[in-house]
Amino acid sequence: MEMNKQILFIFLVAALVIVAGCGNGNSEGTIDQSGNPVDNADQALTDAQSEVEDLELSDVDSLDEDLNLI
């Protein structure tokens, strides 16, 4: 009888482990969004923004005007 109780206990623990495993399997669709390719691409484009905005030839145009002053 005692032996049967022990087997039953082990069996219940194993059953709980299996059920918990299935539960985890169902959440496989969750996507970790930290430091992933999509966010990295987004960050790289944001980083480039100010540099892109700074691309202009205003100083060359000013020098053109200055040369006319002499």
């Binding site: 390719p37 987004d42 790289a44 480039a48 060359v60 020098l63």
Partner: protein
């Protein structure tokens, strides 16, 4: 006790069978393809005896129309099946999810099967790895020769670095350039004051003195930025070592000439002499703009563009997973097409930018160089803007794949294709 034990065994068995049943609800590829075809209307009236003649005529026309549609559908199905067999035969080592992307373009291009038939296995593999928009373009124009300029590249790291530079150094170089531009702007503020003095000077001596001070400040502003642009080029992971050396050599040359110019300004005795020196400063300012733009263009048109291409491919694989799960993928499919088209536009702008850059650095005509730099800057700005737009589509795609419960970021892409001349000389 034995009964309880038996009951538990039976319960677990039943639970296991149910769980497996839920996990194996996957349909085969042919049913996926069926969903891509237009729906066929099959509601026909079944009692023609009580229908008047005009109505009967309409019904006959509808039936004939349906027959044509069915015939066309059979033809497309036939072509698609032939195409499937062809790509399986030519590129059997390429994963099915990758090679079956070619089937998608049959919705946009006719007779893709005959196009693929004429390709060598190597060309077919390159074609299979192209972005969707590029596949459509090449198949529509039937220009297999374009595949000669395309090479297959192994995806080693998803940043597509051409040189290993530490993130800290990249960041530091960008920040230092920003700081240098701020300093240069401060010098520009001083230039306003000396410009005003130059404008108001009446005597030649006054003009010469104000002009000397003004141009010395202008040289200082250029030098401050040039030194930082050099650092930015040296710490750019999207430029090859050869191109970096060539660029650094040109920048060093400009720095050295500007230092000489400073001494010549100091020694100038006439206004005419000063004017000629001023023209030189303008020339070196243009060199500064060539490399300042080149540093940003390399990041946008090499690293960011390739990473965006990779995301398109990942999205295609996610789409394939969703189709296998039997989900409605119409919206996701159309978003990927939108993304692909935008990336193709960005690629075109990058090619234009590269052409302007090459011409600008080689031309000796200063005015022509100025115009080429203007178009270089314009193309880089448009490429960046287009990639920003495409990135917002990627974010929408991620929401869709999340909703469909399929992976996007973690999809595995082993190979990517690049145009031979891409990014670097």
């Amino acid at each position: 006790m034995k009964k309880i034990f038996l009951f538990l065994v039976l319960f677990l068995l039943a639970f296991n069978v149910t769980a497996q049943g839920e996990g194996t609800d996957v349909k085969d590829d042919s049913s996926v393809d069926d969903r891509l075809e237009p729906a066929v209307i099959d509601s026909q009236p079944d009692n023609a005896l009580i229908i008047p003649e005009p109505e009967r005529k309409k019904v006959r026309e509808r039936v004939e129309d349906e027959e044509v549609k069915t015939e066309n559908r059979k033809k497309i199905e036939g072509n698609r099946e032939r195409l499937r067999a062809l790509i399986e035969e030519k590129i059997k080592d390429t994963p099915a999810a990758e090679r079956n992307r070619i089937l998608k373009i049959t919705e946009r291009v006719e007779n893709v099967d005959t196009f693929i038939e004429d390709l060598t296995p190597e060309e077919a593999k390159k074609f299979a790895l192209l972005t969707r928009a590029k596949q459509i373009e090449i198949a529509r124009e039937r220009k297999a020769k374009k595949l000669n300029n395309i090479k297959i590249m192994e995806v080693k790291d998803e940043e597509f670095r051409v040189r290993q530079i530490s993130k800290e150094n990249v960041k530091k170089a960008v920040e230092n350039l920003k700081e240098a531009i701020k300093q240069s702007d401060k010098i520009e503020e001083n230039l306003k004051e000396t410009r005003e003095r130059l404008r108001n000077a009446e005597k030649n001596e006054e003009k010469l003195a104000a002009g000397k001070e003004h141009f010395t400040n202008a040289v200082e502003a250029q030098l401050t930025e040039l030194n930082s642009i050099k650092e930015r080029i040296q710490n750019n992971q999207d430029l090859t070592a050869d191109e970096t050396s060539a660029a650094v050599e040109r920048i060093d040359n400009a720095i050295s000439k500007l230092n000489e110019t400073k001494a010549r300004i100091e020694a100038a005795t006439t206004l005419d002499e000063l004017k000629q020196i001023g023209k030189k400063i303008r020339e070196y300012a243009l060199i500064k703009h060539i490399y300042k733009t080149r540093a940003v263009q390399a990041n946008i048109c090499h690293g960011i563009l390739l990473r965006s291409d990779l995301l398109e491919r990942k999205a295609e694989l996610a789409l394939s997973d969703a189709e296998k799960n039997g989900q409605d993928t119409t919206e996701l499919n159309s978003k990927i097409e939108e993304l692909s088209t935008l990336l193709e536009t960005a690629r075109t702008k990058c090619a234009e930018a590269k052409e302007s850059f090459n011409s600008a650095k080689e031309t000796d005509d200063v005015e022509a160089r100025k115009e080429l730099i203007k178009s270089f800057i314009e193309s880089v700005k448009t490429a960046h803007e287009t990639l920003r737009e495409s990135n917002s589509i990627v974010l929408e795609i991620r929401t869709m794949t999340n909703d469909l419960n399929v992976e996007l970021d973690s999809q595995k892409v082993d190979e990517i294709v690049v145009e031979e001349e891409d990014g670097n000389e």
